[in-house]
């Protein structure tokens, strides 16, 4: 009973923290330089992992889809099927999960260390809001970079699928691209990118909160980071499921 109560209390505090961060987004002073630094950390720093994982995801997806389509004699649809799968689902979800591991854990550890070494308290005593100075730039950077990296993931994934489709499965390039054009609609891409924005917000807020809530020393920071990664990953999948239920139900 006590654990359930503690969980609700923690969840309530996180919601309050998220509200505070959102409110600070629109209040001066604005610090674009800090947003750019965070965009570089979250975005530019993650291009290698997103490119690599995106490429292999596309390759594997094309191989599996080709195997299934071959049974039906519909190999030409491999490109289109992979493209829709990447744009609507795998692109945003896998990008977000990889970014939780790479950037989310770094955010939580950095802010957690700042908390336990009193750097966040120090900032507060200097009349600077730690939420505005530390959380808002990370939140804005995540909101911008998650969809951009999702686009990169989708592009590289499709490239991987194209190479497998044309070179390995020997599907003619014409039908491969033509069926992609037929099956993939702009709304599929927008659907995925919109989800990526939401995932970016959720990951930034959860990981920042876990850093701010860290207590004790190195052990507390480690535990906070573990919880940040677990909570963010589950949140991504829960939000994604809710999205799919709503959009499939409404036919969007």
């Amino acid at each position: 009973m006590q654990r359930i109560r503690a969980w609700f209390e923690d969840f309530g505090n996180m919601i309050f923290f998220a509200g505070e961060a959102l409110a600070w987004m629109f209040r001066p002073p604005f610090r674009p330089e800090l947003v750019i630094i965070q965009m570089a950390a979250i975005g530019v720093g993650s291009t290698f992992i997103i490119t690599t994982t995106g490429f292999f995801t596309g390759v594997v997806l094309a191989l599996q889809t080709n195997y299934a389509m071959h049974q039906l004699g519909a190999e030409g649809y491999v490109g289109g099927t992979v493209a829709v799968g990447l744009a609507r689902e795998l692109g945003p979800v896998l990008t977000a999960l990889f970014l939780v591991g790479r950037s989310g854990s770094a955010i939580s550890t950095e802010l957690g260390t700042m908390r336990v070494t009193e750097q966040i308290d120090a900032m507060e005593t200097m009349a600077v809001s730690p939420v505005q100075y530390l959380v808002v730039p990370r939140l804005l950077a995540a909101l911008a970079m998650f969809p951009l990296l999702t686009m990169l993931f989708n592009f590289v994934g499709y490239l991987g699928a194209y190479i497998i489709g044309i070179v390995v499965a020997e599907i003619p390039a014409g039908p491969f691209i033509e069926h992609t054009r037929t099956l993939l609609e702009p709304k599929d891409i927008m659907h995925g990118l919109f989800k990526a924005v939401i995932f970016g917000g959720v990951v930034a807020l959860v990981t920042c909160w876990r850093g701010f809530a860290a207590t004790g020393g190195a052990k507390g920071v480690g535990e906070g980071t573990t919880r940040a990664v677990v909570t963010s990953s589950i949140a991504i999948l829960v939000v994604d499921t809710a999205f799919v239920l709503i959009t499939v139900g409404s036919g969007k």
Partner: protein
Amino acid sequence: MIRVVDLWKSFGTHDVLKGISIDVPTGTTYVILGGSGSGKTVLMKHVIGLLKPDRGTVLVGDVDIPKLEGKELTEARRMFGMVFQQSALFDSMTVFENVAFPLRERKRGIPAAELKERVIEKLRVVDLSESVLPLYPSELSGGMKKRVALARALIHDPQVVLYDEPTTGLDPITTDYVDDMIVQAKQKLGVTSMVISHDIASSFKVADRLGVLYDGQLAAQGTPEEVRRSDHPHVKKFLALWFEKQ
């Protein structure tokens, strides 16, 4: 300058502060001496408005700190500089960026030359030269970190400087140096200081007045000599640990 008036605070059923009253005149140093868990940090957090009392108040100048919220509290905090136990320097910033931080945030758009001049001026107050400006906190010794932390606390010319366990974890020579630094900051800049400490030797060296906190109450307060002569059993026991060694 600082008046703590009948301050009460409890967390759950645990009474941490039970009617504390302190008066710190302008330009003097007051030390709150006490063991672990005596409520020293809680008391200091009330002074800077990080905690609200259950009863009583804290007046800094004419400002009633517990009554302030949001922007007013933020403004009021500009009267303070604070030196933390672990120095709390921003480890992703250089010494220059650390010391400049409070000023840069308060006076956005301050010319770079003026900012650098102010930083160097404050580093000189704590006996540090320009050569430390590009260094990161991880490249500094414990004593240097404390000095940079004090320079950062002084950069915006605060009226009050708060020190949280300034000598904890330092070797005797560095401790002595930090004590001198606190005395010099008072003498050179005329700031009002409040120090929380469990270090008896340091406390008696830097304090104009001191109070011994025990079980949420001030067991004794006055000049160092008055406190030393206190008849309170806990104070006698606490001080005997150190004075008997001398």
